[in-house]
């Protein structure tokens, strides 16, 4: 028998348990194992005079064991100090049979919860839309409410500061698509058509799309995280109580700023994408820059450029609204900032692509 934590002496039908050593947290698993191995069907004298230290966990272990075995055997406790007795009383006073209710839910409950919460979220989004529209209209009734400073700040943050990454991304995309198609076009001797293909696809589709995706990743996520954090720290509640409508102060400036900056960024992306494509054409097909841009003037109808540009404010509205809405959906724990930010980026990219597809279909139907 292991004698680290207690020694057992048997006299007739009386067992004496002499506790030894440290009855503390770190020793609990070992003590428990040894303790529950004792055969108890007799009279027991439990001697504590040799215990070196007790902490609340050691005491709790003793109490749970004692409560159980009291029913089977008669136990007499001896040799304890006054402090041990006080600790016993303290822990016993807080020992409870009541269990902590479980927060686990079964699968059906979770499916139901998810369904209802999706529905409620949809309603919440409608409410959000209503608020945004109403605040927007009130802006015009009372232009004094217009937050120029905030709008400027967000143009700086989401527009100006995104120029470099948007430029780089679209330059690379322009370069890659031209580079890849150059090989195929060369097979048909249709080298110069690279200009038609690249310029139309970039201005009409790729430029707006790349810009929107970069901005959704950069600014949409930032909007969610900012507003979400403000919600957790109750800054939004504080604003409300002071009469600062969060739609005026937080949502509209972001939406308006993005609606202004996104078309400008798209223009920039178009330029850089075409430069990238000219560069690839020059490298791969030996089309000179003069040739490339002369051809560009001939084939690139301005409507493609305008169609690309007009998508800007619409994508911007989608991204900013989803970003802000997701921010307000953050509940009280930090984890939800993470999940809402993810949802914000995923949703806005999805809606950007979906709207882009819708545009394509409608415009083709109209023959534009």
């Amino acid at each position: 028998m292991n004698e680290t934590y207690f020694r057992i002496q048997r006299h007739g039908d009386t067992t004496t348990i002499i506790s030894l050593g440290d009855w503390t947290l770190q020793h609990e698993p070992a003590i428990r194992k040894a303790l529950y191995a004792i055969d108890l069907n007799q009279n027991i004298i439990w001697d504590f005079s040799n215990v070196e230290s007790f902490d609340s966990v050691g005491m709790l272990l003793f109490i749970t064991f004692y409560q159980q075995s009291k029913k089977k055997a008669s136990i007499e406790l001896v040799g304890y100090t006054q402090d041990q007795k006080r600790l016993y009383k303290l822990v016993l006073a807080h020992y409870t049979k009541e269990s902590i209710p479980s927060r686990d839910k079964n699968i059906l409950y979770r499916i139901g919860e998810l369904t209802i919460s999706s529905y409620l979220q949809f309603l919440a989004f409608l409410e959000f839309l209503g608020h945004v529209t109403a605040s927007f209209l009130r802006y015009f009734v009372n232009p004094r409410n217009f937050r120029y400073k905030e709008i400027m700040y967000h143009i700086q943050q989401s527009g100006m500061n995104a120029i470099f990454i948007v430029a780089l991304t679209s330059f690379l995309v322009g370069l890659v698509i031209s580079y890849q198609s150059a090989v195929e076009l060369a097979k048909f001797g249709a080298d110069i058509f690279i200009v038609d293909m690249a310029s139309i696809s970039i201005t009409r589709e790729l430029g707006p799309m790349i810009t929107a995706i970069v901005v959704a990743g950069r600014s949409g996520s930032a909007y969610t995280a900012q507003i979400g954090a403000m919600k957790i720290t109750e800054e939004i509640s504080a604003m409300r109580t002071m009469g600062f409508d969060p739609y005026y102060f937080l949502v509209l400036p972001r939406i308006i700023a993005l609606m202004i900056s996104l078309p400008l960024l798209i223009f920039f992306a178009d330029v850089m994408g075409i430069l990238g494509s000219a560069f690839a054409a020059n490298m791969e097909l030996n089309i000179s820059y003069t040739q490339f841009f002369e051809r560009l003037q001939e084939v690139l109808d301005s409507k493609h450029f305008y169609i690309g540009l007009i998508k800007g404010p619409i994508f911007a509205m989608l991204i900013a609204m989803i970003g802000c809405f997701r921010g307000f959906e953050v509940s009280d724990d930090t984890e939800s900032i993470g999940s809402q930010t993810t949802a914000s980026v995923v949703n806005s990219i999805f809606f950007v692509i979906a709207f882009d597809a819708l545009f394509s279909v409608i415009l083709t139907q109209w023959g534009i």
């Binding site: 609990e28 272990l61 402090d83 807080h94 209710p101 957790i232």
Partner: protein
């Protein structure tokens, strides 16, 4: 034996000096108070003791370690010997109260799940919360309940050293006195050393053994209440020698 010793601690943020040559020490088994006006650097001093903030100069000794030259494994060992209650609770918001308390037990010991639950329930009840509060998330708690849950978490590992940043602020007076009683009892029975930042006169009179007063970037007085009251520093005059505090002191002294 000295459990904590601050040696010429200096703390600066840029050109703002918070502490200038702060010296104090805390003995084994003592309930030690840190007092001072808002912004006098009490929380900061405590953060320097628990290695959340490096002092700009001077040195801190905690248990047998010197913090300026401590190695990572020793840091981890040290961190398992103390419990900390933060001024604003700092509970993990994605975990329930019970999970918050259980976290370290699961990580650092081999205690069975059933026993962990028993420990958690005991700690919840000790800190003055009903058992069912264990299932709540921090966002579902009131301010006072957060304090209690944070205390329960600080006590989870039966630490040798307990750091409490304003434990009784935000509690109702009866709750605050029970809190004091619990701290005292734990100190007596488990021999833990308690460091508490407090503005609560009742705690200072009834449970704190020794305390220091931070003002003007220095420790302007250190010792038992009678020793500190001998000082004539303006902050001490203001804090203890006003009418309200005097009344409390008289009552406090009579009761002792």
């Amino acid at each position: 034996m000295r459990v904590i010793e601050a040696i010429d601690i200096g703390t600066r943020f840029g050109s703002t000096v918070i502490h200038d040559k702060v010296n104090m020490h805390i003995d084994q088994g003592e309930i030690y108070g840190i007092l001072g006006e808002s912004g006098s650097g009490k929380s900061l001093l405590m953060k320097e003791m628990i290695m959340l903030q490096k002092p700009s100069s001077g040195d801190m000794r905690v248990l047998e370690y010197t913090l300026s030259s401590i190695k990572y494994p020793q840091m981890q060992a040290l961190r398992q010997q103390w419990g900390v209650l933060f001024q604003f609770g700092a509970l993990f918001s994605s975990l329930t109260v019970a999970e918050n308390i259980k976290l370290q037990l699961k990580e650092y010991t081999n205690i069975s799940d059933a026993m962990c639950n028993e420990i958690v329930k005991t700690k919840i009840s000790m800190s003055g919360l009903p058992t069912r509060a264990g299932a709540l998330y921090p966002s579902e708690l009131s301010g006072g309940m957060i304090k209690r849950a944070a205390l329960a978490r600080a006590l989870a590992m039966d630490p040798k050293l307990l750091f409490l940043d304003e434990p009784t602020s935000g509690l109702d007076p009866i709750g605050a006195r029970n809190f004091d009683k619990l701290i005292m009892e734990l100190r007596d029975l488990l021999g833990i050393t308690v460091v508490m930042i407090t503005h609560d006169l009742d705690s200072i009179y009834s449970i704190v053994d020794r305390f220091c007063v931070l003002a003007d970037k220095h420790v302007v007085a250190e010792g038992s209440i009678t020793e500190v009251l001998d000082s004539t520093h303006p902050f001490i005059e203001r804090f203890f020698k006003n009418e309200y505090a005097q009344k409390r002191l008289n009552i406090g002294v009579k009761n002792v």
